[in-house]
């Protein structure tokens, strides 16, 4: 089975621009989560989508938005980019294995650099 795929691998943008990052989950997984990882820190939760509905949102401004499509792939959009948005953006494909466990499988990430 193919793992979680993300595109693009790397991206360079300038302040004020917007960006769209894409994620395709593992086949059969209906949930996708997005995380931001700034250099030297652990990942921070941004969003989770399940069955095309937003299920949770982390402490990020409204400049960050996401959606999930009928095929369960997902896009993360960031508007009005700031230098501080430079980070590795990770997508995780999830399945619920029962008794309170969400198994999350991470993609390779998209490295966003804002100049």
């Amino acid at each position: 089975d193919a793992g979680v795929t993300q595109s693009p691998t790397h991206l360079i943008k300038t302040r004020g621009q917007h960006v769209t990052l894409r994620c395709s989950p593992i086949s059969g997984h209906k949930s996708v989560s997005w995380y931001q990882q700034v250099l030297g820190q652990g990942p921070q939760f941004i969003f989770q989508y399940y069955e095309k509905e937003e299920r949770g949102r982390g402490n990020f401004p409204d400049r960050f938005s996401a959606r999930q499509f009928p095929n369960y792939s997902s896009e993360l959009n960031v508007n009005a980019l700031l230098l501080g948005d430079s980070a590795l953006y990770l997508c995780a494909s999830s399945r619920y294995s029962g008794t309170g466990i969400w198994e999350q499988f991470f993609g390779p990430g998209t490295r966003l650099t804002v100049l």
Binding site: G42, Q44, F45, L88, A92, G100, I101, F105, F106
Partner: protein, 112 residues
């Protein structure tokens, strides 16, 4: 803000030695997981321990969990150069079981 805190921040060991890192967290959890990350790439899931478990093994990995102290440890035995990576603990809260909260990680360097 980060839920977990790993200790130490960095660890350098000789190949064949054991590596131990610790994680502390703040709120009640359902599960605690450990992940590995190579050179700023994606996270690889290593092991999950439930809140009602105290110890778990997987190959050369041993994880312990002490919910009374809100802490966990990861032991890698007989380390190899390929174990060089950053290691993160991640917790999911009792009421937010879909959201993982990560610590800042421990960077492990295994010298040949």
């Amino acid at each position: 803000s980060q839920q977990g805190e790993e200790d130490p921040q960095a660890l350098s060991i000789q190949e064949g030695e054991n590596a131990t890192m610790n994680c502390s967290y703040k709120t009640s959890i359902n599960n605690l997981q450990w992940y590995r990350q190579n050179s700023g790439r994606g996270l690889v899931h290593l092991i999950l321990i439930r809140s009602n478990e105290r110890e778990k093994h997987s190959g050369r990995l041993r994880v312990t969990l002490d919910t009374s102290k809100k802490s966990s440890s990861l032991l890698i035995t007989a380390s190899r150069a390929a174990d060089t990576a950053s290691y993160f603990c991640a917790t999911d809260g009792v009421n937010n079981d879909y959201k993982l909260s990560f610590g800042a990680g421990t960077t492990v360097t295994v010298r040949a």
